[in-house]
């Protein structure tokens, strides 16, 4: 079995892990911002009437 430098290995895990966590969340942030823009632009009027009816339902 080859000798493995565990510390170097752990540091590599750290770079990989933090890199993926960050890129995942940054990707998510951009997608969410885009999604919010699209929804506010195209669906917002419909959305408002929808939430109004659902509020009525919960009250009734």
């Amino acid at each position: 079995m080859e000798e493995v430098n565990l510390v170097a290995e752990a540091l590599k895990f750290m770079f990989l892990g933090m890199g993926i966590v960050f890129s995942f969340l940054i990707l998510l942030v951009y997608i969410l911002q885009m999604q919010a823009k699209i929804i506010q632009k195209y669906f917002y009027p419909m959305e408002q009437s929808k939430s109004a009816t659902s509020q009525n339902n919960t009250k009734g």
Binding site: L6, A10, I20, L28
Partner: protein, 450 residues
Amino acid sequence: MRNKTILSIFVFVLLLLFGTTSSANTIVEESNETTQETQIIQNNGYHSKTILELLESFYNKTGINAIINPKDGVLDSHGHEMSHFTQGYGRIIMILVSLVLFYLAIKKNFEPLLLLPIGFGGLLANIPIANIAGPDGFLGIIYGFGISTGLFPLIIFMGVGAMIDFGPLLANPKTAILGGAAQLGIFGALVGAIMLSEYTGIFTFTLEQASAIAIIGGADGPTSIFIANALAPELLGAVAVAAYSYMALVPVIQPPIMRALTTVEERKIRMPALRKVSQLEKIIFPLTVLIVTILVLPDATPLIGALCFGNFARESGVVGRLSDTMQNALINIVTIMLGLAVGSKLAAEQFLVTETLGILIIGLVAFSLGTAGGVIMAKIMNKFSSKENQINPLIGAAGVSAVPMSARVATKVGQEADPSNILLMHAMGPNVAGVIGSAVAAGVLLSIFK
């Protein structure tokens, strides 16, 4: 008068009937027993015992004897032979550890919903002879179907998803970055654990074990259990106890770090009010998260998928009953079984080792690093954003999940500097992003070792 006589005759007949049937039953049973007994006598050569012999053989089966006189060849729940120490004093120490957990849960109110069942599971698992944590004992059975399959943490995650309102995150998505930075706790602790075992020689952790310990820094009980079970099941008991204890200690561990890393001015930063998030955005959110996870990191989909399902059921608004069950009844049932089963791993031979001490130390380091990571990231982000969009660095500390405790801690520390500055909703953003972040970190670790 006549009625009474009729009644008494009726009762008499009834008694007679039941009497005959039951005595008939006993006769049948007796004859069965006698045949069985004769068989046993033929097989084992049963001989008549004096009352002294009976008492002695009974004493040999008592807990007192099992603890005072450990025997060779007693097997633990994994089928390994137990040392005399773990059979005797080990059990007593572990029962004391369980009592300490009760104290923390009842008197100190530290995560009582988990520490109480875990403590009781530990108590039951350390009963000699009964072997409750063994593969045929009831704790062993619960452990077998719930934890070694990874099922319980996922069901808990479903309930957590149904409980969380992702609105604050949707209103200010960039706070998600803080939830990512707090995962530094996990990976920093991983490096720390390996360095400890390489350079000090007190502890010896493999990479798998170090990863399972480091995930405590995610401040997320179910994720810790999920990963510990997948990578280092032998450490599960200590990891789970450390994770939940430190989560309970969030209000003690975090504030000094937060104060040390921020100035009073920074703590006073006010953040603009969050915009209103539409229902549609909330419904689409779990699907978006799931799609990104599927594309980037399928290894995290069991955890994220369960979380998204719970949240989808919550926000869809049409399955209120299911969402209600997930966040109340289901999560409570699973918490009971999860706690007991995790507690069953508090056996002396696994817990009373130097590694446990290492786990407690590394867990604490992981928590502190995660808190620091979130706070520092918020300060870095402030350097790059405009005057109006400044982030109060305290909410970075909420990036270690521990929903909603760490968000409350951020609010409290913020109010110490400026009592009128309520940070709670702002802190919920990084807080729930931390849940996703630690699930992603868990997925990365799984993907490395799979």
